[in-house]
Structure formats: C-alpha cells, structure tokens
Symmetry: C2
Subunit: 343 residues, 2 copies
C-alpha cells in the first residue's frame, strides 16, 4: 500500500481560488503520506500563494496554465477552446497517466464536459455519473447521478448502482453498502417507466446489496448508502435538500435574534447546536466524484474552503490506493459476462 498517488489540483477554480485551494491541498499533504500534489494555475497567483507556506518541495509540483474557465461559460465550448486553462491542462495530465486524479472547484459543467471529452470513459461505461456525497442523520449517502446528462437509460442506472457501491465500500469504507432506487412508493406497481425497467435489473445484481425502492422522505435519515436515480431527479434532490436545510437554518437564526429572551436562549444552545449541525456540513466529504472515467475527476463545491479541498484530495488518494478504477472495471465486465451467459 505504499503506492505514491499523484493528485492534480485546479488552483484557479471556485470562489476562493487560489487562496483556499492551495491551502487545502497543502493541508492534505500533511495528512496523507504517499501523495504528490500537482498544482495547475496561472503562474503569478499560484507562485505567490505557494510562497506563503513552507512545505516539502519534493512532493509539490506546479504546472502553469494561463487561461481560466469562468463559471458562466458554455462548458463544451470552453473545454474545446481554452486549451491552456487549468481544467484542460490538469485533465490532460490524468489522461496521459501522469497523474491519478484531478480535483476542481471550478464550473461543474466544464468539469463534467472535460471528464468526458479529455479524461474519457472507462471501457464498458455507458455514462459517467457525478455522484455527490450528501450528509444525512445516519452519516452520509452517495447520490448517483447528479450530472448534466438527463433522461438516462435503465442499463446506465444499473451501472450507476455498481459504481456507487464500489465507491462507498472502498473509498468511504462502508461495508456492503445498501443500494436504493428512488421511487414514489414502496409498492411493486409504483414508479415511472424508467424505474419499472430498472427495478428487476437491480434485483438480479447479486453483487449488490439492493434494498429496493427508497422514498425521498427517508433520504435525510440515511435510508441507504447509495441512492440511485436519473440525473434530473438527482439534481432536484440535491438542490432541494440543500435549499431546505439552508432555509430552515436561516429561519432559526432569525428566531434566535428576534428578542433579548431568544438571544440569551441562543447563547445557551449554540455550542450544542453547532455540534449537531456539524454532521450536516457537506464540506466534511469534499464534494462529488465523477465515476467511470480513466482516472478520478473530483468536483468540489464552488464555495469550497481549505478543509473541503483537503478532504477532496484525501478521497482521491483513497480512490487511487484502493484501485477503484480497476474494481469498477471488473464490476462492469462482470455485468457484461452475466449478459453474455444469459444470451
């Protein structure tokens, strides 16, 4: 297990780049052995940022890329045109096997497009999903797919389930992860056309701990470890969950500040409440792996600060050390073998 992992970090992506990105990457270096960082970004800002820290120079490389892809740019066009952007240059290092993984807090669309167009799909993968890790009352769940490509086919959802299961087991350390399919009721006859098609396929997967339908109301409680759904539904779940949490916290804060009485009460409650809310802080998990590519692409929140970047880098190291790419390949090949046997 002493394999050295090379993780490329997009120093220019996200709201807090390059400061928090560089800081977080260097923190990961302190936590994890066998890690070499490759920081990609504009020479001036990146060098200036690095000069603020003392670190093991043998374990940190820099690659300069003069362009930056902005959040609002049309993703595919940006990836095609900006050959000297941190995303394109960084992903090319993974493509050329000069690095194992790529982390970015930049434009989700550009990261997704680059993952497909530059890093490329693993053999046999129909569609690489984006799978954010969401905090729940039970710990965390992987929500797969939340990518940009909607209207998935049944066979793609089966692959999402398999890749998600491998990720949760080996990158996150959850034994025999429970896999659930998002549905609108537990009864057999419930569901849309896609769900009805996927359900029997997932039941046949003896390599999965498939628990059947999960209802959206049970997701916040951590009803399963891998939540499988099509990307439109996944996006709605991710954003509504974030939005509802944020809205309630805002309302509770307003309540705390509403009178002298509540302000005193809040002072007494705050330390314990902070502790409770910590478990729902998505930055603990770093963000979202994009699975099924020839190397890991890891999308961290646009608003990521150092701690989240650090956690993203650590997940990349786990992914690579556990040889998850190979494990996913084997799972998917198995699926092909099952099919071949059947016919």
């Amino acid at each position: 297990m002493s394999k050295n992992v090379r993780v490329v970090v997009d120093a220019m992506g996200g709201d807090n780049a390059p400061g928090e990105i560089v800081k977080g990457a260097l923190e990961a270096l302190k936590t994890v052995k066998d890690l070499t960082l490759v920081l990609v970004g504009q020479q001036g800002p990146l060098t200036a940022e690095l000069s603020k820290y003392t670190y093991d120079k043998q374990r940190v490389e820099t690659v300069f890329a003069q362009e930056v892809i902005a959040m609002a740019e049309p993703p595919v066009a940006a990836i095609r045109k900006k050959k000297d952007s941190s995303i394109v240059v960084g992903m090319n290092l993974v493509k050329k096997k000069e690095a194992d993984a790529f982390v970015s807090a930049g434009s989700t669309g550009a990261v997704l497009a680059g993952g497909q167009l530059i890093v490329g799909r693993q053999k046999g993968i129909e569609r690489p999903p984006l799978a954010p890790i969401i905090p729940t009352a039970g710990g965390m769940s992987l929500l797969v797919d939340c990518g940009a490509n909607v209207d998935a086919r049944a066979s793609q959802l089966v692959q999402f389930a398999k890749m998600g299961s491998v990720y949760m087991e080996y990158a996150m350390g959850i034994k025999n992860p429970r896999v659930g399919l998002v549905n609108i009721g537990a009864e057999e006859e419930k569901g849309n056309a896609l769900v009805k098609e996927v359900m029997p396929l997932l039941k046949q997967c003896t390599d999965l701990n498939f628990i059947g339908s999960v209802e959206a109301r049970d997701i916040p409680y951590g009803v399963c470890d891998v939540i499988v759904c099509e990307a439109f539904v996944g996006n709605v779940i991710l954003k509504l969950y974030e939005g509802t949490s944020a809205m309630f916290l805002r309302e509770i804060k307003k309540t705390f500040l509403s009178s002298v009485r509540t302000k005193i009460g809040a002072l007494l409650i705050k330390p314990a409440l902070k502790q409770t809310l910590k478990q729902f802080d998505a930055s603990r998990y770093g963000g979202a792996p994009m699975l099924g590519l020839n190397g890991l692409v890891f999308k961290t929140h646009g608003s990521a600060k150092a701690r989240e970047v650090k956690n993203s880098v650590i997940q990349c190291v786990n992914f690579s050390k556990q040889e998850l790419g190979e494990k996913i390949s084997r799972q998917i090949a198995l699926q092909g073998a099952d099919k071949a046997q059947e016919s």
Copy 2:
C-alpha cells in the same frame, strides 16, 4: 355570492377518523356561511360522533356507507368493489351534482382513482393532477402534479400550469400567481426532454404569469406560487421537503434535550420558535386539491386533525363560490382555441 355550497366529507378516512374529521367539519360550519355538510360514513360511529356536538341540524346531512377502504388496499380494485364505501358513496354525490365537493383524509390512491373513475374529468382535461399546497418561507406554493400517474406529456403540464394558476388566484387569493417550471438550471439549454418541450409552450401562454425555470433549491423560499412538474418529480419534491423538515426538527429537539444548559436555552427560545414553525405547518392549508374534475375532490393528509379538515372544507367552499370549475373550463377551452387558430 350567497350560493349555498354542499361539501361531502368522508367521515371514515384517515388516521383520526371519525373523531377529528367530524369535529373539523363542524368547525368549518361555524366559520363559513352558505355551507351545508354531507357527512358520509358508517352509521354507528358517525351518529355517535355527531351526538357529541350541538350544531345547526338543517345544515348537516348524513349519508350512511357501511364499507371502509383501507390505506393499503389496491386503489382501483377497492373503488370498483366497495360500492358502499364512504369514498365511493361520497364521490357519487358529487358526480350526480348533489354536492359540489368531496373531502377525504383516506387512501390517496383510492381518492385519486375515485376522482378519475367516479367524479370524472372535466371536458378537455387530459389528466387531473393532485396539487398539494406546501408552506414556504414566502407563504405557500401549489405543487402540481403530485398524483399517481407519472410520465406526463408536455400538453398535460401546460394544463397543470393553467389549472394551478386559476386555483391560486381564486381559491387562495393570490393575484397574478407566478408560475415556474421545475428545472435543473436557469440556462436555456438545461433540462430533460419533457422540460425542453414544455418550456416554449408555457412561454406562449399569455394568460399565465410564467417566470421560467425554477430550481429546487429556491422552492423552500417561495420562488413562485405555482410549481409545475411531472408527478414523479412532484412526489420527490413533496416528500423530500417534508422529510428534510421533519429530520431537522427531530435533530433540533434532540439538541434541546441534550443537557441542562440546552434545556434552559430551549425554554427561552421555544415560544418564538413555535411561532416561526407555525408558518411551515402544512395543516394550515388543508392538503391538496385534485383539479380538472367535474367537482372538487380535496385530499387532506392521512394524519389530519380537526383544524386541517376545517381548512380543507373552507377551500372547497372558496372553490365552489368562485366557480373555479367553470374558470378552469374556460382556460382550457381557450387553449383549444389558441391551437385551432394556429393550425
């Protein structure tokens, strides 16, 4: 405006039937003039319950139905077989124009099936949606569709938008209601095949205040008054919103009870917090109208208590007094006329 409205109430439906149902219905009678209640249920329990109250006997009728449809029964089969159930008997009164509306806290599936099979669709309505009213930080929104029929067509979503807009304007008193289409981003090119097909159709509706895409993260803040989506997505939104709220409240309550310090703090905060949470109490709005039928069918929560039943009955009265059925008919006919003009 002195039209007398006859509202049928299913006295046997829901977790708290017949006690809370009868109580709530009689409370509505005190609040609203020009209302006659028709209570349907098993003779013994219904008569016993009514005997507990004094009320204007001229405004309360009873119709006895000896069967009860249980929550877990297959809906369509139950509606077909149990001809003497409160749902079937009650809906038949609406069908025969002997009543204007029907309220039930019973099985959602059975209410939806009965609405379609017994009360029947209004002329021109492709699919009658179930449209729960959800509380938000901005007030309330109508989420249409959350029914049992998924995989909707674009033309059906346009009708949902129109019916929802009429409902919010005339039953809930919101002037020029903002209509939004659930999407996974604000950009033009975002969305699944259905959303891309519906978007231009909704833009053409000059009779709607259509504000375009709404993202799930903005729903809890009350980004629009009518939230249009296909029923699978609607169900996920409704249940995740309820589930996330319930989970956070549970976690906060646990925090309040975690030490002597937090218990004291909680005592100080509780009155203000209760006030804040009141605005998110779904029972304020009674539940969900099923729109586009020959009479209003109103589904209230299975857990409904008296207040919610009362509010459901009041919405039925508003619906009927404002002649919403006729208004919906005109809107839909207009849509037909638009189409005819185009071709």
